[in-house]
C-alpha cells in the first residue's frame, strides 16, 4: 500500500474524545463480567522488561512468571508474550518452548529510534533470527514532526520486510507527538505501511498510554478496517498498572471495535506490574478479602 492522502485524515476534537473516554470509565463491571474481563486482560498482557540492567537470569525469572502467573488460582490463562531487548530474545525463546507464549522484541534503536535505517534493519533481523515472534519498532518522531511523512512510511515498510514472518508492532510514542491529530496521522501512516499492530508508547516517555490516545488509535483501526478489510491490532503500553484501568480499556475496545477485537491476537497490554494487580483482584473475588502484596510474586 502507499501513503494515504494525509490531508484527508479525519480531524480529532480533544474535548469530545475526553468526554467519550470518560463515559467508558463509568461502565459498571461487576461479578462474573469482572472475573471474565480480568482473565481476558491477563491473557492479553505482554509481560515486559526493558531495562539497561536486564540479564539472562532476570529474563528467565520473568519467563517463569509468564508461565505461572499464580499457581494457587485455578484456570488462569498465561500472558500473551514477553517483551524484551533483542539480545535477550534467545534466552526467552528457550525458556518458553511449548508454552504458547510469544517472544516479542523491541528493535530499531529502541527507544529513541535515532539511528540509521541500516542499523535499524540489522537490529530487526537480529531479533527475528534469535527467534522473536513479534517485533516492536519505534517510528522516527523527529522526522514525523518535521513533516517527513514519506520517510516515516518508508522506514516502517522496510522494517516490515525485514521482519519476515514476525508480526510488526509499530510504536508511535504518542507522548512525543503532541496532538491527537498527530496521533491519528501517525496511526494511518503505520497501518498503511504494513503494521500488524499499532502501539502507543515505549514506556520511557511520559505520558505513555492514555485513554484519549488509545481511543483515537482504535478509531483509526476501525476506519482502516472499513477501507481495506484488514484487522490491525492495538497495544497500549506504559501507565496501565491497575486491574480497574485494564477493564476500562476493555470496555473502550468492546464499544469501539467490538467483540472481534477482544482477544490477544488483536489487543495487548504492554505492562509489567498490571498482572499482579489483576491477580490480587481475582484472589479477592475468590476469597472475599484483599491479600497483602507480599503474596504475589514479583519477577
Amino acid at each position: 500500500m502507499t501513503l494515504p492522502d494525509l490531508s484527508k485524515t479525519p480531524k480529532i476534537d480533544k474535548v469530545g474524545v475526553q468526554e467519550r473516554t470518560n463515559r467508558f470509565c463509568v461502565r459498571s463491571i461487576k461479578t462474573s463480567a469482572k472475573i471474565h474481563g480480568l482473565h481476558l486482560a491477563l491473557s492479553m498482557i505482554d509481560l515486559t522488561t526493558l531495562e539497561g540492567k536486564d540479564t539472562p537470569e532476570k529474563v528467565k525469572q520473568l519467563c517463569y512468571k509468564a508461565r505461572h502467573l499464580d499457581d494457587s488460582i485455578q484456570g488462569l490463562p498465561h500472558v500473551a508474550a514477553v517483551c524484551l531487548y533483542p539480545t535477550l530474545v534467545g534466552v526467552a525463546k528457550k525458556e518458553l518452548i511449548g508454552s504458547g507464549i510469544k517472544v516479542a522484541s523491541v528493535a530499531t534503536a529502541f527507544p529513541s529510534g535515532q539511528s540509521t535505517l541500516e542499523v535499524k534493519l540489522n537490529d530487526t533481523k537480529y531479533a527475528v533470527a534469535e527467534g522473536a515472534d513479534e517485533v516492536d519498532m519505534v517510528i522516527s518522531r523527529g522526522k514525523f514532526l518535521e513533516g517527513e511523512y514519506n520517510f516515516v512510511f518508508d522506514e516502517i515498510a522496510e522494517v516490515k520486510q525485514a521482519c519476515g514472518k514476525a508480526h510488526l508492532k509499530v510504536i508511535l510514542e504518542t507522548g512525543e507527538l503532541d496532538t491527537l491529530d498527530n496521533v491519528r496521522k501517525a496511526s494511518d501512516i503505520a497501518m498503511y505501511a504494513g503494521a500488524d499492530f499499532i502501539k502507543t508508547s515505549t514506556g520511557k516517555i511520559s505520558p505513555a498510554a492514555t485513554m484519549p490516545v488509545v481511543f483515537v488509535m482504535l478509531n483509526a483501526i476501525k476506519d482502516f478496517y472499513k477501507e481495506t478489510g484488514i484487522k490491525i491490532g492495538m497495544k497500549p503500553a506504559g501507565g496501565i498498572s491497575t486491574a480497574k484501568k485494564s477493564l476500562q480499556y476493555l470496555v473502550m475496545l468492546k464499544e469501539t471495535l467490538g467483540d472481534e477485537w477482544m482477544n490477544k491476537d488483536l489487543f495487548r497490554f504492554g505492562a509489567s506490574s498490571l498482572a499482579n494487580d489483576i491477580l490480587m483482584q481475582l484472589k479477592k473475588q475468590e476469597t472475599g478479602i484483599y491479600q497483602s502484596l507480599d503474596y504475589f510474586s514479583k519477577d
Binding site: P10, K11, I12, A33, G37, E255, M262
Partner: protein
C-alpha cells in the same frame, strides 16, 4: 471460582443501583404551608414506574380549592419572606442546595424509578445540576442591587410554576431557586407522571427549616395547572412544557397583568460540516437526540449533514447506536431508559408511523427491548425533507431525522425554517464558521462542537414558538422582579 472461557464474548453483568435506601410513602399528600395536608378534592392518582408499568405510590390530586389554599399560604408567607434580610434568604437556599447534594443518591434513584431515565443521567446530570442551580441563585440573593444596578428590584409576589416530566427535579430547581432568591414565594406543580422527586424536595424543604408557605408543592394534572394559571392572586406564571399548552396559557392570560415566562417545545437543528471532527460529531449526534430518550425540549432532533460526508457520518452513526444499551433505567450501564409514559410512547409511535407513511427510510438497530414497560429503540429517518411532518413537528422521543445540505446558506435557511427556535448545534473545526452560524441561527442556545450542555450561569430560552423569557444566569432573575424607577 467457576471456569472462565475467555473465548466467549465478554458481556457486562447487570449492575442495578440499589433501591434499598429509598424511603417512599405509599401515599403523598399536598405540601401546603409547610405541612403535608390531605387534598380537599379527596382524590389521588397512581404514579407508575414506566419501566415495568407497576404502581409506585398514590399522589394527591389538587383541585381549585386546593390551589387556592396553596396560593393563600404562599401569599401569607410572602409578607415576611420578601422582607427578610437577603443574606438570610441566601442562606436558606444554600442549605437546600447542600441537603440536595447530601441526598443526591436517593433523589437520583427516585428520579429514575418514577421517570424512566437512566440512573447514569439522573446521578451524573439531573441531580448535580439541580443542586448547582440552588447554589448559583443562592449567591445572587443578597446581590440583586449589584446584578441590576439603579433599578431597585422588588419581588413580584406569588409565583405559580408548572413544570414538565422530562427533568422533574432539575426543572423544579430552575423554577424555585430564582424565585426564592428574588424574594418571591412559590406554588409549584410537577407533571402528573413524575411527582415523586418534587415531593421528596418538599420533604427536604420541610427538613431545611425554610419558613412555612414559602414553597408549596401541589400535585395534579392539567386542570390543576389551569387552576394555578387562572388564580387571580398569582403574580407570575412560569411554565415549561409543550407549545400547545403554552399557547393556551398565553390565551388565558391575555390582558391580565401577570408576568409570564414560557419554555416550550423545540426542533433543534444539529449541523455537521465536512470539516468537523467526524467521530466526535457522531458522538454529539447521539448526545443531542438520545439523551434522556429524546425527551428534551432542546434536543438536536433535526440532523443536517453536509453532502460530502453524509455517507460516512450515517454509517458511523448506525454503528454507534448499535452499541447503545437499552433497558432497566436503574442499571448503571443503561444508556437509554424507558419512555416516560404510555401516552408519550403512543405519540412517538404515531410519528414513526407517519414518517414511514410519508416515505422516509427508517433505521433502527437490532436490540432487545424489555417485555414490560414503555420502550422505543433509537430511530433514524433518512431521506427526509423539510416538508415531512416528522421534520416539522416535535416528537419528543429518540427519533432523529437526517437531511443533507450543500452550502452554508442552504443549511441556515433550513435550520431556521421552523416555528421553533430553542437550540442548535454546529460542528466544524473552523472558528469563523461557528461565529457566522451563531449569528444567523434563530435559536436561544447554540452549541459549538458539543450538545446538551447546561450550566446554571447560562441563560436558556427560546425564539418564536419555543417560548418567551429566559431562565438561568443573570437573565433568569429578571422575570421574578419588578423595577421601581
Amino acid at each position: 471460582m467457576s471456569k472462565v472461557d475467555i473465548n466467549k464474548s465478554w458481556n457486562y453483568s447487570s449492575a442495578p443501583e440499589s433501591t434499598a435506601h429509598i424511603q417512599l410513602k405509599k401515599k403523598y399528600d399536598l405540601f401546603i404551608g409547610g405541612e403535608f395536608v390531605k387534598p380537599l378534592s379527596n382524590k389521588y392518582f397512581d404514579t407508575i414506574n414506566p419501566a415495568n408499568g407497576e404502581q409506585i405510590a398514590k399522589v394527591a390530586e389538587a383541585d381549585e380549592k386546593d390551589v387556592d389554599r396553596a396560593v393563600k399560604a404562599a401569599r401569607k408567607a410572602f409578607k415576611s419572606w420578601s422582607k427578610l434580610d437577603p443574606q438570610e434568604r441566601g442562606k436558606y437556599i444554600f442549605r437546600i442546595a447542600r441537603m440536595m447534594q447530601e441526598r443526591a443518591r436517593e433523589f437520583a434513584v427516585v428520579e429514575s424509578l418514577d421517570g424512566g431515565k437512566p440512573i447514569r443521567e439522573s446521578r451524573d446530570i439531573d441531580i448535580p445540576l439541580a443542586a448547582n442551580h440552588f447554589f448559583y441563585y443562592a449567591g445572587w440573593a443578597d446581590k440583586l442591587e449589584y446584578a441590576l444596578p439603579n433599578k431597585k428590584p422588588k419581588p413580584l409576589g406569588v409565583a405559580g410554576q408548572i413544570i414538565p416530566w422530562n427533568f422533574p427535579l432539575l426543572m423544579a430547581a430552575w423554577k424555585i431557586a430564582p424565585a426564592l432568591a428574588t424574594g418571591n414565594t412559590v406554588v409549584l406543580k410537577p407533571a402528573e407522571t413524575t411527582s415523586l422527586t418534587a415531593l421528596k424536595l418538599a420533604e427536604l424543604i420541610q427538613d431545611s427549616g425554610l419558613p412555612k408557605g414559602v414553597v408549596n408543592i401541589i400535585t395534579g394534572a392539567g386542570e390543576t395547572g389551569a387552576a394555578i394559571v387562572n388564580h387571580p392572586d398569582v403574580d407570575k406564571i412560569a411554565f415549561t412544557g409543550s407549545t400547545v399548552v403554552g399557547k393556551l396559557i398565553e390565551k388565558s392570560l391575555a390582558g391580565i397583568n401577570k408576568k409570564t415566562t414560557l419554555e416550550l417545545g423545540g426542533k433543534g437543528a444539529n449541523i455537521i460540516f465536512e470539516d468537523a471532527a467526524i467521530d466526535q460529531a457522531v458522538e454529539g449526534i447521539v448526545n443531542a437526540i438520545f439523551f434522556n430518550q429524546g425527551h428534551v425540549c432542546c434536543a438536536g432532533s433535526r440532523l443536517f449533514v453536509q453532502s460530502s460526508v453524509a455517507d460516512v457520518v450515517i454509517e458511523k452513526l448506525k454503528d454507534r447506536i448499535s452499541t447503545l444499551i437499552i433497558g432497566d433505567p436503574l442499571d448503571k450501564n443503561t444508556d437509554i431508559g424507558a419512555i416516560n409514559s404510555k401516552e408519550q410512547l403512543k405519540t412517538i409511535e404515531k410519528y414513526i408511523a407517519i414518517g414511514k407513511k410519508e416515505g422516509a427510510d427508517i433505521y433502527q438497530p437490532k436490540c432487545q427491548l424489555p417485555k414490560k414497560g414503555n420502550w422505543c429503540p433509537p430511530t433514524l429517518f433518512l431521506n427526509v425533507s423539510q416538508s415531512h411532518t416528522i421534520v416539522q413537528e416535535e416528537i419528543f422521543g429518540p427519533v432523529l431525522t437526517i437531511q443533507t445540505f450543500r452550502t452554508i446558506d442552504e443549511v441556515i435557511e433550513k435550520a431556521n425554517n421552523t416555528p421553533f427556535g430553542l437550540s442548535a448545534g454546529v460542528w466544524t473545526e473552523k472558528g469563523s464558521k461557528i461565529f457566522k452560524l451563531s449569528k444567523k441561527l434563530k435559536a436561544g442556545v447554540i452549541w459549538a462542537n458539543t450538545f446538551n450542555k447546561f450550566d446554571p450561569a447560562s441563560p436558556f430560552g427560546g425564539y418564536k414558538e419555543s417560548g418567551m423569557g429566559r431562565e438561568g444566569g443573570l437573565h433568569g432573575l429578571k422575570p421574578y422582579l419588578k423595577f421601581e424607577s
